[in-house]
Symmetry: C2
Subunit: 206 residues, 2 copies
Amino acid sequence: METFSSRLLQAAVEEFSRLPGIGRKTALRLVLHLLRQDEESVARFSEAMIRLRQEVVYCRQCHNISDQDLCEICRSPHRDQSLVCVVEDLRDVIAIENTGQFRGLYHVLGGIISPMDGIGPGDLNIESLVNRLEEKKDSIKEIILALSTTMEGDTTNFYIFRKIKPFNVQVSVIARGIAIGDELEYADEVTLGRSIVNRTLYENIK
Amino acid sequence: METFSSRLLQAAVEEFSRLPGIGRKTALRLVLHLLRQDEESVARFSEAMIRLRQEVVYCRQCHNISDQDLCEICRSPHRDQSLVCVVEDLRDVIAIENTGQFRGLYHVLGGIISPMDGIGPGDLNIESLVNRLEEKKDSIKEIILALSTTMEGDTTNFYIFRKIKPFNVQVSVIARGIAIGDELEYADEVTLGRSIVNRTLYENIK
Protein backbone atom coordinates (compact mmCIF):
# COMPACT_ATOMS: atom_id res chain seq x y z
CA MET A 1 0.00 0.00 0.00
CA GLU A 2 1.47 3.32 -1.00
CA THR A 3 1.89 6.18 1.38
CA PHE A 4 0.31 9.33 0.00
CA SER A 5 0.75 12.57 1.83
CA SER A 6 -2.71 13.74 0.72
CA ARG A 7 -6.06 12.05 1.29
CA LEU A 8 -7.46 13.84 -1.77
CA LEU A 9 -4.70 12.38 -3.92
CA GLN A 10 -5.23 8.96 -2.42
CA ALA A 11 -8.98 9.09 -3.12
CA ALA A 12 -8.43 10.16 -6.74
CA VAL A 13 -5.84 7.43 -7.34
CA GLU A 14 -8.14 4.82 -5.81
CA GLU A 15 -11.01 5.86 -8.08
CA PHE A 16 -8.83 5.59 -11.19
CA SER A 17 -7.42 2.22 -10.06
CA ARG A 18 -10.94 0.78 -10.13
CA LEU A 19 -11.02 1.15 -13.92
CA PRO A 20 -10.16 -2.03 -15.82
CA GLY A 21 -6.51 -2.34 -16.86
CA ILE A 22 -5.45 0.68 -14.78
CA GLY A 23 -2.93 -0.23 -12.10
CA ARG A 24 -1.95 2.05 -9.23
CA LYS A 25 1.12 3.39 -11.03
CA THR A 26 -0.88 4.35 -14.11
CA ALA A 27 -3.65 5.76 -11.91
CA LEU A 28 -1.14 8.00 -10.16
CA ARG A 29 0.29 9.14 -13.49
CA LEU A 30 -3.18 10.03 -14.81
CA VAL A 31 -4.18 11.82 -11.62
CA LEU A 32 -0.95 13.85 -11.61
CA HIS A 33 -1.71 14.80 -15.21
CA LEU A 34 -5.17 16.05 -14.23
CA LEU A 35 -3.61 17.93 -11.33
CA ARG A 36 -1.48 19.90 -13.79
CA GLN A 37 -4.53 20.95 -15.86
CA ASP A 38 -6.58 24.04 -15.05
CA GLU A 39 -9.72 23.69 -12.95
CA GLU A 40 -12.11 24.05 -15.88
CA SER A 41 -10.48 21.16 -17.76
CA VAL A 42 -10.82 18.88 -14.78
CA ALA A 43 -14.42 19.97 -14.25
CA ARG A 44 -15.18 19.32 -17.94
CA PHE A 45 -13.62 15.87 -17.70
CA SER A 46 -15.63 14.97 -14.62
CA GLU A 47 -18.90 16.40 -15.89
CA ALA A 48 -18.65 14.48 -19.17
CA MET A 49 -18.65 11.25 -17.15
CA ILE A 50 -21.54 12.28 -14.88
CA ARG A 51 -23.67 13.53 -17.79
CA LEU A 52 -23.01 10.40 -19.82
CA ARG A 53 -24.02 8.15 -16.93
CA GLN A 54 -27.12 10.17 -16.02
CA GLU A 55 -28.45 11.11 -19.44
CA VAL A 56 -27.56 8.19 -21.66
CA VAL A 57 -30.43 6.19 -23.15
CA TYR A 58 -30.46 3.02 -25.18
CA CYS A 59 -32.30 2.66 -28.48
CA ARG A 60 -35.58 0.84 -27.83
CA GLN A 61 -35.23 -1.04 -31.11
CA CYS A 62 -31.56 -2.07 -31.35
CA HIS A 63 -30.29 -1.32 -27.78
CA ASN A 64 -27.40 0.72 -29.16
CA ILE A 65 -26.34 3.67 -27.05
CA SER A 66 -28.29 6.78 -28.08
CA ASP A 67 -29.29 10.30 -27.17
CA GLN A 68 -32.91 9.62 -28.12
CA ASP A 69 -35.54 6.92 -27.84
CA LEU A 70 -34.63 5.61 -31.29
CA CYS A 71 -30.93 5.77 -32.25
CA GLU A 72 -29.48 7.64 -35.21
CA ILE A 73 -28.95 4.44 -37.19
CA CYS A 74 -32.47 3.11 -36.64
CA ARG A 75 -33.93 6.55 -37.49
CA SER A 76 -31.91 7.01 -40.68
CA PRO A 77 -33.84 6.76 -43.98
CA HIS A 78 -30.54 5.85 -45.70
CA ARG A 79 -30.10 2.53 -43.91
CA ASP A 80 -31.27 -0.80 -45.32
CA GLN A 81 -34.11 -1.90 -43.02
CA SER A 82 -34.03 -5.45 -44.39
CA LEU A 83 -30.61 -6.26 -42.91
CA VAL A 84 -30.02 -6.66 -39.16
CA CYS A 85 -26.53 -7.28 -37.85
CA VAL A 86 -26.41 -8.91 -34.38
CA VAL A 87 -23.41 -7.83 -32.31
CA GLU A 88 -22.16 -8.33 -28.77
CA ASP A 89 -21.80 -4.72 -27.68
CA LEU A 90 -21.59 -1.18 -28.90
CA ARG A 91 -17.86 -1.35 -29.53
CA ASP A 92 -18.69 -3.78 -32.34
CA VAL A 93 -21.22 -1.30 -33.75
CA ILE A 94 -18.49 1.35 -33.81
CA ALA A 95 -15.98 -1.08 -35.38
CA ILE A 96 -18.40 -2.15 -38.14
CA GLU A 97 -19.54 1.44 -38.77
CA ASN A 98 -15.89 2.41 -39.19
CA THR A 99 -15.46 -0.13 -42.00
CA GLY A 100 -18.08 1.78 -44.03
CA GLN A 101 -19.14 -1.60 -45.50
CA PHE A 102 -22.50 -2.06 -43.80
CA ARG A 103 -25.64 -0.02 -44.44
CA GLY A 104 -28.19 -2.10 -42.51
CA LEU A 105 -29.36 -1.92 -38.90
CA TYR A 106 -27.98 -3.48 -35.72
CA HIS A 107 -29.16 -5.46 -32.76
CA VAL A 108 -26.90 -5.13 -29.71
CA LEU A 109 -27.08 -8.20 -27.44
CA GLY A 110 -25.28 -6.54 -24.53
CA GLY A 111 -23.02 -9.56 -24.09
CA ILE A 112 -22.52 -13.14 -25.15
CA ILE A 113 -23.67 -16.44 -23.62
CA SER A 114 -20.93 -17.42 -21.19
CA PRO A 115 -21.77 -19.96 -18.46
CA MET A 116 -18.31 -19.38 -16.95
CA ASP A 117 -19.23 -15.76 -16.27
CA GLY A 118 -22.80 -16.64 -15.33
CA ILE A 119 -24.26 -14.97 -18.42
CA GLY A 120 -27.23 -16.86 -19.86
CA PRO A 121 -29.55 -16.07 -22.76
CA GLY A 122 -31.97 -14.32 -20.37
CA ASP A 123 -29.32 -11.68 -19.60
CA LEU A 124 -29.04 -10.68 -23.26
CA ASN A 125 -31.32 -8.83 -25.67
CA ILE A 126 -32.32 -12.04 -27.49
CA GLU A 127 -36.03 -12.04 -26.60
CA SER A 128 -36.23 -8.52 -28.00
CA LEU A 129 -34.64 -9.73 -31.25
CA VAL A 130 -37.38 -12.34 -31.55
CA ASN A 131 -40.03 -9.67 -30.85
CA ARG A 132 -38.42 -7.39 -33.39
CA LEU A 133 -38.59 -10.16 -36.02
CA GLU A 134 -42.24 -10.77 -35.17
CA GLU A 135 -43.11 -7.10 -35.53
CA LYS A 136 -41.06 -6.49 -38.67
CA LYS A 137 -41.32 -9.87 -40.35
CA ASP A 138 -42.20 -8.25 -43.66
CA SER A 139 -39.26 -5.88 -43.77
CA ILE A 140 -36.39 -7.92 -42.25
CA LYS A 141 -34.89 -10.31 -44.83
CA GLU A 142 -31.55 -11.26 -43.30
CA ILE A 143 -30.01 -11.55 -39.86
CA ILE A 144 -26.21 -11.38 -39.86
CA LEU A 145 -24.60 -12.90 -36.76
CA ALA A 146 -21.41 -10.91 -36.17
CA LEU A 147 -20.21 -12.33 -32.86
CA SER A 148 -16.70 -13.29 -31.78
CA THR A 149 -15.38 -16.46 -33.39
CA THR A 150 -14.94 -18.06 -29.97
CA MET A 151 -16.75 -20.93 -28.28
CA GLU A 152 -19.02 -18.43 -26.51
CA GLY A 153 -19.74 -16.72 -29.83
CA ASP A 154 -20.55 -20.04 -31.49
CA THR A 155 -22.84 -21.03 -28.61
CA THR A 156 -24.67 -17.72 -28.83
CA ASN A 157 -24.93 -18.01 -32.63
CA PHE A 158 -26.47 -21.46 -32.28
CA TYR A 159 -28.92 -20.34 -29.58
CA ILE A 160 -30.09 -17.37 -31.65
CA PHE A 161 -30.26 -19.48 -34.80
CA ARG A 162 -32.66 -21.94 -33.12
CA LYS A 163 -34.76 -19.08 -31.74
CA ILE A 164 -35.22 -17.32 -35.09
CA LYS A 165 -35.44 -20.39 -37.35
CA PRO A 166 -39.29 -20.31 -37.25
CA PHE A 167 -39.24 -16.92 -38.99
CA ASN A 168 -38.84 -16.82 -42.73
CA VAL A 169 -35.53 -15.00 -42.57
CA GLN A 170 -32.08 -15.72 -43.93
CA VAL A 171 -29.42 -16.17 -41.22
CA SER A 172 -25.74 -15.65 -42.02
CA VAL A 173 -22.52 -15.43 -40.03
CA ILE A 174 -19.53 -13.20 -40.79
CA ALA A 175 -16.82 -14.81 -42.91
CA ARG A 176 -14.05 -16.59 -41.02
CA GLY A 177 -10.64 -17.11 -42.52
CA ILE A 178 -7.16 -15.73 -42.82
CA ALA A 179 -7.03 -12.03 -41.95
CA ILE A 180 -6.19 -9.81 -44.91
CA GLY A 181 -2.49 -9.00 -44.91
CA ASP A 182 -1.60 -12.07 -42.81
CA GLU A 183 1.07 -14.55 -43.84
CA LEU A 184 -0.14 -18.13 -44.05
CA GLU A 185 2.72 -19.60 -42.06
CA TYR A 186 1.69 -17.62 -38.99
CA ALA A 187 -2.01 -18.47 -39.19
CA ASP A 188 -3.27 -20.91 -36.60
CA GLU A 189 -4.13 -24.40 -37.83
CA VAL A 190 -7.83 -24.27 -37.06
CA THR A 191 -8.36 -21.04 -39.01
CA LEU A 192 -6.19 -22.25 -41.86
CA GLY A 193 -8.02 -25.59 -42.01
CA ARG A 194 -11.41 -23.92 -41.99
CA SER A 195 -10.32 -21.38 -44.59
CA ILE A 196 -9.55 -24.25 -46.97
CA VAL A 197 -12.79 -26.13 -46.27
CA ASN A 198 -14.89 -22.94 -46.59
CA ARG A 199 -12.99 -21.61 -49.58
CA THR A 200 -14.62 -19.00 -51.86
CA LEU A 201 -14.82 -19.24 -55.65
CA TYR A 202 -12.32 -16.77 -57.07
CA GLU A 203 -14.96 -15.14 -59.24
CA ASN A 204 -17.05 -14.50 -56.09
CA ILE A 205 -14.33 -12.53 -54.27
CA LYS A 206 -15.38 -8.94 -53.68
CA MET B 1 -12.64 9.43 -36.68
CA GLU B 2 -15.06 7.04 -35.08
CA THR B 3 -18.79 7.23 -35.53
CA PHE B 4 -20.54 7.32 -32.19
CA SER B 5 -24.30 7.21 -32.02
CA SER B 6 -24.29 9.38 -28.89
CA ARG B 7 -22.79 12.83 -28.39
CA LEU B 8 -22.53 12.16 -24.66
CA LEU B 9 -20.47 9.06 -25.34
CA GLN B 10 -18.32 10.94 -27.81
CA ALA B 11 -17.65 13.73 -25.30
CA ALA B 12 -16.71 11.27 -22.56
CA VAL B 13 -14.37 9.33 -24.85
CA GLU B 14 -12.72 12.54 -26.00
CA GLU B 15 -12.08 13.65 -22.43
CA PHE B 16 -10.46 10.33 -21.56
CA SER B 17 -8.35 10.37 -24.73
CA ARG B 18 -6.73 13.59 -23.55
CA LEU B 19 -5.03 11.73 -20.71
CA PRO B 20 -1.45 10.68 -21.43
CA GLY B 21 -1.04 7.16 -22.79
CA ILE B 22 -4.79 6.67 -23.27
CA GLY B 23 -5.73 6.06 -26.91
CA ARG B 24 -9.27 6.19 -28.26
CA LYS B 25 -9.79 2.42 -27.95
CA THR B 26 -8.75 2.41 -24.32
CA ALA B 27 -10.80 5.55 -23.67
CA LEU B 28 -13.88 3.83 -25.08
CA ARG B 29 -13.24 0.74 -22.96
CA LEU B 30 -12.91 2.85 -19.80
CA VAL B 31 -16.00 4.92 -20.57
CA LEU B 32 -18.06 1.78 -21.24
CA HIS B 33 -16.89 0.44 -17.90
CA LEU B 34 -18.07 3.61 -16.13
CA LEU B 35 -21.36 3.35 -18.01
CA ARG B 36 -21.96 -0.06 -16.44
CA GLN B 37 -21.42 1.29 -12.89
CA ASP B 38 -24.22 2.80 -10.84
CA GLU B 39 -24.70 6.58 -10.82
CA GLU B 40 -23.20 7.05 -7.36
CA SER B 41 -19.96 5.33 -8.36
CA VAL B 42 -19.54 7.56 -11.39
CA ALA B 43 -20.36 10.64 -9.31
CA ARG B 44 -17.81 9.56 -6.69
CA PHE B 45 -15.18 9.06 -9.40
CA SER B 46 -15.82 12.48 -10.89
CA GLU B 47 -16.01 14.32 -7.59
CA ALA B 48 -12.69 12.85 -6.44
CA MET B 49 -11.02 14.52 -9.44
CA ILE B 50 -12.78 17.86 -8.97
CA ARG B 51 -12.06 17.98 -5.22
CA LEU B 52 -8.43 17.01 -5.72
CA ARG B 53 -7.93 19.76 -8.29
CA GLN B 54 -9.77 22.42 -6.30
CA GLU B 55 -8.64 21.67 -2.76
CA VAL B 56 -5.10 20.38 -3.14
CA VAL B 57 -2.32 22.42 -1.57
CA TYR B 58 1.43 22.03 -1.66
CA CYS B 59 3.61 21.99 1.44
CA ARG B 60 5.20 25.42 1.84
CA GLN B 61 8.45 23.86 3.04
CA CYS B 62 9.04 20.83 0.76
CA HIS B 63 6.46 21.42 -2.06
CA ASN B 64 5.09 17.91 -1.63
CA ILE B 65 1.36 17.52 -2.23
CA SER B 66 -0.52 18.03 1.01
CA ASP B 67 -3.90 18.64 2.62
CA GLN B 68 -2.43 21.33 4.86
CA ASP B 69 0.01 24.21 4.77
CA LEU B 70 2.80 21.96 6.06
CA CYS B 71 2.73 18.33 4.84
CA GLU B 72 2.49 15.26 7.04
CA ILE B 73 6.16 14.43 6.59
CA CYS B 74 7.41 17.93 7.43
CA ARG B 75 5.06 18.05 10.47
CA SER B 76 6.07 14.67 11.83
CA PRO B 77 8.17 14.65 15.03
CA HIS B 78 9.47 11.19 14.04
CA ARG B 79 11.35 12.37 10.96
CA ASP B 80 15.02 13.29 10.96
CA GLN B 81 15.11 17.05 10.33
CA SER B 82 18.83 16.99 9.53
CA LEU B 83 18.40 15.01 6.27
CA VAL B 84 16.76 16.51 3.17
CA CYS B 85 16.24 14.34 0.09
CA VAL B 86 15.87 16.32 -3.16
CA VAL B 87 13.56 14.62 -5.68
CA GLU B 88 12.06 15.47 -9.05
CA ASP B 89 8.38 15.01 -8.28
CA LEU B 90 5.95 13.54 -5.82
CA ARG B 91 6.03 10.12 -7.45
CA ASP B 92 9.60 9.86 -6.22
CA VAL B 93 8.49 10.79 -2.70
CA ILE B 94 5.97 7.94 -2.83
CA ALA B 95 8.56 5.52 -4.23
CA ILE B 96 11.14 6.37 -1.55
CA GLU B 97 8.54 6.30 1.24
CA ASN B 98 7.52 2.84 0.07
CA THR B 99 11.08 1.55 0.57
CA GLY B 100 10.76 2.35 4.29
CA GLN B 101 14.51 3.15 4.26
CA PHE B 102 14.39 6.93 4.63
CA ARG B 103 13.31 8.85 7.73
CA GLY B 104 14.38 12.35 6.71
CA LEU B 105 12.51 15.15 4.94
CA TYR B 106 12.08 15.90 1.23
CA HIS B 107 12.41 18.77 -1.17
CA VAL B 108 10.31 18.36 -4.33
CA LEU B 109 11.81 20.24 -7.30
CA GLY B 110 8.72 19.88 -9.47
CA GLY B 111 10.81 18.79 -12.47
CA ILE B 112 14.35 18.53 -13.71
CA ILE B 113 16.53 20.91 -15.75
CA SER B 114 15.82 20.04 -19.38
CA PRO B 115 16.70 22.63 -22.04
CA MET B 116 15.06 20.38 -24.67
CA ASP B 117 11.72 20.78 -22.91
CA GLY B 118 12.38 24.44 -22.10
CA ILE B 119 12.70 23.76 -18.36
CA GLY B 120 15.36 25.90 -16.69
CA PRO B 121 16.43 26.23 -13.04
CA GLY B 122 13.96 29.11 -12.61
CA ASP B 123 11.02 26.77 -13.25
CA LEU B 124 12.01 24.50 -10.38
CA ASN B 125 11.91 24.83 -6.58
CA ILE B 126 15.68 25.37 -6.34
CA GLU B 127 15.64 28.92 -4.98
CA SER B 128 13.36 27.72 -2.20
CA LEU B 129 15.86 24.97 -1.36
CA VAL B 130 18.55 27.62 -0.96
CA ASN B 131 16.22 29.69 1.24
CA ARG B 132 15.38 26.61 3.26
CA LEU B 133 19.08 25.97 3.85
CA GLU B 134 19.58 29.58 4.91
CA GLU B 135 16.72 29.41 7.39
CA LYS B 136 17.60 26.00 8.80
CA LYS B 137 21.36 26.01 8.46
CA ASP B 138 21.73 24.78 12.01
CA SER B 139 19.44 21.79 11.67
CA ILE B 140 20.11 20.53 8.10
CA LYS B 141 23.29 18.43 7.95
CA GLU B 142 22.98 16.58 4.65
CA ILE B 143 21.30 17.09 1.29
CA ILE B 144 20.74 13.84 -0.65
CA LEU B 145 20.30 14.36 -4.39
CA ALA B 146 17.94 11.59 -5.54
CA LEU B 147 17.34 12.52 -9.17
CA SER B 148 17.23 10.30 -12.25
CA THR B 149 20.62 8.98 -13.35
CA THR B 150 20.21 10.67 -16.74
CA MET B 151 21.99 13.60 -18.34
CA GLU B 152 19.20 15.92 -17.15
CA GLY B 153 19.49 14.50 -13.65
CA ASP B 154 23.27 14.99 -13.67
CA THR B 155 22.89 18.56 -14.94
CA THR B 156 20.38 19.34 -12.21
CA ASN B 157 22.59 17.71 -9.56
CA PHE B 158 25.54 19.86 -10.67
CA TYR B 159 23.46 23.06 -10.71
CA ILE B 160 22.12 22.41 -7.21
CA PHE B 161 25.53 21.37 -5.93
CA ARG B 162 27.02 24.71 -7.02
CA LYS B 163 24.12 26.63 -5.47
CA ILE B 164 24.36 24.98 -2.05
CA LYS B 165 28.15 24.62 -1.84
CA PRO B 166 28.44 27.90 0.17
CA PHE B 167 26.43 26.32 3.00
CA ASN B 168 28.22 24.09 5.45
CA VAL B 169 26.22 21.01 4.47
CA GLN B 170 27.16 17.56 3.23
CA VAL B 171 25.88 16.80 -0.29
CA SER B 172 25.43 13.20 -1.44
CA VAL B 173 23.87 11.45 -4.44
CA ILE B 174 22.04 8.13 -4.41
CA ALA B 175 24.19 5.07 -5.13
CA ARG B 176 24.46 4.03 -8.77
CA GLY B 177 25.28 0.48 -9.75
CA ILE B 178 23.85 -2.86 -10.69
CA ALA B 179 20.24 -3.23 -9.60
CA ILE B 180 19.75 -5.85 -6.91
CA GLY B 181 18.66 -9.13 -8.46
CA ASP B 182 20.12 -8.27 -11.88
CA GLU B 183 22.47 -10.59 -13.72
CA LEU B 184 25.79 -8.99 -14.62
CA GLU B 185 25.76 -10.12 -18.24
CA TYR B 186 22.60 -8.09 -18.91
CA ALA B 187 23.83 -4.89 -17.24
CA ASP B 188 24.74 -2.04 -19.58
CA GLU B 189 28.44 -1.29 -19.92
CA VAL B 190 28.32 2.20 -18.46
CA THR B 191 26.61 1.06 -15.28
CA LEU B 192 28.85 -1.98 -14.98
CA GLY B 193 31.98 0.12 -15.50
CA ARG B 194 30.91 2.68 -12.90
CA SER B 195 29.94 -0.02 -10.45
CA ILE B 196 33.51 -1.31 -10.56
CA VAL B 197 35.09 2.13 -10.22
CA ASN B 198 32.72 3.13 -7.38
CA ARG B 199 32.92 -0.24 -5.62
CA THR B 200 32.00 -0.51 -1.94
CA LEU B 201 34.12 -2.20 0.74
CA TYR B 202 32.46 -5.52 1.60
CA GLU B 203 32.42 -4.68 5.29
CA ASN B 204 30.50 -1.46 4.47
CA ILE B 205 27.63 -3.21 2.70
CA LYS B 206 24.35 -2.69 4.52
